[in-house]
Symmetry: C2
Subunit: 198 residues, 2 copies
């Protein structure tokens, strides 16, 4: 289970919210990117980035010059949110339109991993996530590349999962309204690969 903290306590629609760690892992593994929130000069900043997971650790990478990487490496509080959009929920009434989605919100403080062999293992896991069929065939990172890339990790600890599934929930008096109602599923779908001409 995830730890429930001040920020992960659900305020409403409690039935859609859980602390289920397995559900959190499933969403984090399926999502190719997440959005990382941090505070810079007193203001919230939200940046999209790729993440990947080994056990209860979530990993992120960046260049040494990036503000997000520096903020994460410095151990400031962050919030990491991964969202999968699963469908448009089209009700009979405007009011009951919704989205089907699965999301994870995590809170914590990241830290930088410097050890070259730990970094190599973590970046191998990133390639296994991004391109499982090619990950042993690509040219592996060399020492210079590993040194150039900042690696930060967050222990998956405090947070929550929110899921909406299923059909629209119209009021009884709207069920006879003469309009199609239902769900249009949405999925991030791969298209035809485009080979590099280089």
């Amino acid at each position: 289970m995830l730890k429930q903290g001040a920020h992960s306590t659900p305020h409403r629609k409690v039935d859609r919210v859980s602390l289920d760690r397995a559900a959190a892992y499933e969403i984090l593994d399926e999502a190719l990117i997440c959005h990382v929130g941090f505070i810079a000069d007193g203001s919230p900043v939200v940046i999209p980035t790729i993440h990947w997971r080994i056990g209860d650790r979530l990993y992120f990478h960046g260049s040494h010059g990036s503000r997000m990487g520096q903020t994460m490496a410095a151990g400031h509080a962050i919030c990491v949110t991964a969202t999968l959009l699963d469908g448009l929920v089209l009700a009979r009434s405007a009011f009951h339109h919704s989205m089907n989605f699965r999301s994870v919100v995590l809170f914590g403080k990241a830290w930088e991993i410097d050890d070259p062999s730990d970094k190599a293992i973590a970046f191998d896991a990133l390639m296994a996530k991004m391109t499982p069929d090619r990950c042993t065939a690509i040219r592996p990172a060399n020492a210079r590349e590993l040194a150039t890339t900042k690696l930060v990790a967050l222990t998956i600890d405090e947070g929550s999962v929110k899921v909406r599934r299923g059909p629209p929930i119209d009021s009884a008096e709207d069920i006879a309204w003469p309009v199609w109602a239902g769900v249009v599923p949405l999925a991030l779908t791969p298209g035809t690969p485009v080979a590099d001409k280089a």
Copy 2:
């Protein structure tokens, strides 16, 4: 053009970053959800939500009980980030793997819109975005529903656009490495609609 502020000044990879307002609008209109960042009790919080746009205003909705809605309505600083994932960029070297994406990051302070007719116009625009083919056929929101739903707006002013397109950029010495390289396009794709049985 968008306004460049302290938080939207690109720190690196400047060639991928712009202040192009038309590009920002295109991304905001295509993205069905965004991630809103705010500060709660000193910590960053990032929540996914639907957004929509009329002119230079971005709109968000929520219940009166939601923390995000309350924070936005109170005029605290927020960051709104919308990201479209366009492809996996599969290079010959692990190091040069990347993602094609388009993202907008906006900074500002939102405010609540209370006027019922302004709210009705804004929510009509949400339906036109979510379900253009059905938006005149659904049962419109009534006065009670409009009153129940909080509407907040953000003027699109300070922020930036970041885009990565195109093939992998491998080093010259890796071009002959014997592995497929290229781009796998990704798109959020609608599936077969599922009619509600109610």
